[in-house]
Amino acid sequence: MSSPAIRFENLTLGYGRHPAVHHLRGDVERGSLTAVVGPNGAGKSTLLKGIAGSLKPLGGRILVDAGAEGVAWLPQAADVDRSFPLPVYDLISMGLWSRRGMFGGIRRADRARIDEAIAAVGLTGFENRPIGTLSGGQMQRCLFARLLLQDSRVILLDEPFTAIDESTAADLLGLVRRWHAEERTIIAVLHDLDLVQRAFPDTLLIAREPVGWGGTDDVLTPENLEKARAMIEAYDRHAHRCDRTAA
């Protein structure tokens, strides 16, 4: 087996001194397709933030081997300022940043790739529309096109199918499957357990602490889900210092 795409070494992530992800350890295999599920406040988004490198661990570390393109991270769509007067085409083409950088011009071959990405998400004809005029589903298609252009080996998706209709979700899931077939490593935060069971071979169930991690059918048992729910209700304002070193 080759080295893992991502390795968590006794990882603790959090805000202030309160852990949101507590003592997580394990490997995400190269080319795996993993769903991250758990109750609200379980640290799912925080975990993606940590992998993307925009949150420093409180303890332990994350080793990410994503190659030259780096990690592609789709946060919850609310992070985009949709009042900014930018056309769809320009937002999508920013996916080429890792190759063209701050100053590089967009070449002829790039234009073909951009057009292809726009077609792949079904937004052909929308190129010149300001992003403010897109619906929620169209915006999500737009962000997926940008992900396509990023061409990363490791892709993080934070609730990618929330608040969009079925046909959009089906189209975007098709892209996720395409990436999986291309042996990219994908981690997606999801709430729809049916979808997880249908489309995601591996699942990490967390409730601040990892509850289960492995094959989806082994992890998503009623007992595990109940355990996760119970664990997340125990947030303690006056928690003591954690002296645990091994889980």
Binding site: S54, D79, P85, L86, L91, M94, M102
Partner: protein, 289 residues
């Protein structure tokens, strides 16, 4: 007749030509800066920084009188200090940038008023507050042109990260470390342009040549490229129009330029096709699709 009204003032008087060149140089760089300030929701930051320049210019004045060099260096130093401190403090503490900016500019404004009050005549004070677009000498013109050129060049280089930092800062952070650099460089450009504007229009109106054309442009287009073009054209037209009005009617030139831009703004508020009053209040028949 038309010649007398529009061309003759500039053809006959060197000070009018100089004022025109200076004002257009300001408009060329100030307008795109204003558009970015507005899109970054920093319209009032420009105003705050304009106040922050005052104590620096006042210290320069204290040492060297009404000297272009001393007041420029003083203004730049004060403006950049406030911009950098506000940026650093907002990244290192719990306060947001607007709050730190407000605190710093109030402190420096108080300092500036204290210095000016301690030493200085009322005439000099008027010069500092309202500028002297009709009395720009060669050195001042070269300074304005240089600042304008540097600004346009730097904006061309920073354009991509600046836009992306507004639209999707989270994405920019994952692909590049250019965000904070672009932000601080941009604040530096704002200060440069305020100092340039300060010589021509004074500390109080310097920010006007940036923000008023930008706000006008927003009412004409929802596309950033078009906005920058409209803002620049508005700035240039206001410079020409303001100088002519000031010549014929006898108004002070700096305020006349900003008032002219203000007239464009008010007119656009009413007829602007991208969110003006008529376009929002008078519904047109909806389309089929």
């Amino acid at each position: 007749m038309l010649y007398d009204a529009l061309i003759a003032p500039f053809a006959e008087f060197a000070f009018m030509r100089r004022a025109l060149v200076g004002a257009i140089a300001l408009a060329l760089s100030g307008a795109p800066i204003g558009v970015f300030l507005m899109l970054r929701r920093m319209s009032l930051t420009g105003d705050a920084m304009a106040h922050a320049i005052l104590p620096g210019a006042a210290v320069g004045y204290l040492f060297a009188g009404l000297s272009l060099g001393a007041m420029t260096i003083g203004g730049l130093a004060a403006g950049l200090t406030v911009a950098v401190l506000a940026g650093v403090v907002s990244r290192a503490t719990a306060l947001r940038e607007d709050a730190t900016m407000a605190a710093f500019y109030l402190i420096s404004l108080a300092l500036g008023v204290a210095i000016v009050s301690a030493k200085g005549s009322n005439i000099d004070l008027l010069h500092v507050l309202f500028g002297s677009v009709l009395a720009l000498d060669d050195d001042a013109l070269i300074l304005l042109a240089a600042i304008s050129s540097v600004t346009l060049g730097a904006l061309a280089l920073l354009y991509r990260p600046l836009v992306l930092e507004c639209v999707d800062p989270g994405f920019l952070r994952t692909v590049s470390r250019a965000g904070p650099v672009a932000h601080l460089s941009f604040l530096g450009l704002v200060v440069l342009n305020l100092v340039a504007g300060f010589h021509a229009l004074g500390t109080l109106l310097a920010v006007g040549v940036m923000m008023v054309p930008a706000a006008t442009a927003r009412l004409w287009s929802a596309d950033i490229t078009a906005m920058i073009i409209v803002a620049t054209l508005t700035g240039i037209a206001s410079s020409i129009g303001g100088l002519l009005v000031s010549y014929h009617v006898g108004l002070p030139a700096g305020p006349a330029i900003i008032l002219f831009a203000g007239a464009f703004y008010v007119a656009s508020l009413i007829v602007g096709p991208a969110g003006g009053m008529i376009s929002t209040l008078v519904p047109r028949r909806h389309l089929e699709a």
